[in-house]
Amino acid sequence: MLTVQFLLLGAVLFCIGVYGVLARKNAVMVLMSIELILNSVNLNLLAFSSRLGSIDGNTFALYVIAVAAAEVGVGLAMVLLIYRNRRTIALDELSDMKG
């Protein structure tokens, strides 16, 4: 198998995730797109781990998974708080800090 096929799959997922972060208005959907981005990073880490014959990429991927789990927990708690205070999670209506 080629190295570049895994890297290209990661690139496709990354760009789809970036599109989702930029285009979506719903905060939960933005968090889902961030998950796509983090998964593409993991794919790259494991591809390079396999390419170099080193175990470090696997370790990093595990750490990325753990940080992503923490990030989703805190992110959804924040979304819940915003919903409770404003009755909406549309990100373009949270413009209080706009000058």
Binding site: L2, V4, A23, N58, A77
Partner: protein
């Protein structure tokens, strides 16, 4: 190149799973129903676990299934249900100026693809049965050896995230 080195089965499997993942990821960012997007995301995450198996990283694949497909998806469905009254199709899930995101991501994809093909070209991964086979014992030696300090930091991150999530979501 010997025919046995081509790994036909693995390549066909990679193609099918990659196609499935790309289609599902596109559905995640285009579908008009939040719950459906979460279910499409399950397909992407499971496909990623399968790709990790192709890269002979079994432990990461199992962790992916446990943490992402198990825990994170349940969190997403909880978040969806707690933040909206109706569960159905919605017209306005996109920003006003979402059209700008299309050329931005396409441009980014073009640049990344060019760099990757230029840099790696037709370089091949070592075959899984030669040297990339990773026993879990080596992985645990790596985590609890040179990377012990990040492991501790990570456990503190998880602790703080749990406490923070409780404090944020608690009703007073």
């Amino acid at each position: 190149m010997v025919a046995a080195d081509l790994l036909v089965a693995q390549n066909v499997g990679f193609g099918i799973i990659a196609l499935l993942m790309i289609v599902a990821a596109l559905r995640v960012v285009t579908v008009k129903n939040v719950v459906h997007a979460a279910l499409w995301l399950v397909i992407v995450l499971s496909g990623a676990a399968a790709q990790y198996l192709l890269l002979s990283a079994e432990f990461v694949a199992i962790t992916q299934v446990l943490v992402y497909v198990g825990a994170v998806m349940v969190l997403f469905l909880f978040g969806t249900m707690l933040t909206r009254a109706k569960i159905g199709a919605e017209a306005d899930l996109n920003n006003k100026n979402w059209g700008i995101a299309v050329p931005v991501s396409l441009l980014m994809f073009g640049v990344i693809t060019w760099v990757l093909i230029d840099g790696f070209g037709d370089e091949r991964l070592p075959n899984p049965d030669e040297q990339t086979q990773v026993p879990i014992q080596v992985l645990s030696d790596d985590i609890f050896g040179p990377y012990l300090l990040p492991f501790w930091a990570l456990s503190f991150v998880l602790l703080v995230a749990v406490i923070g999530a409780i404090v944020l979501a608690r009703k007073d």
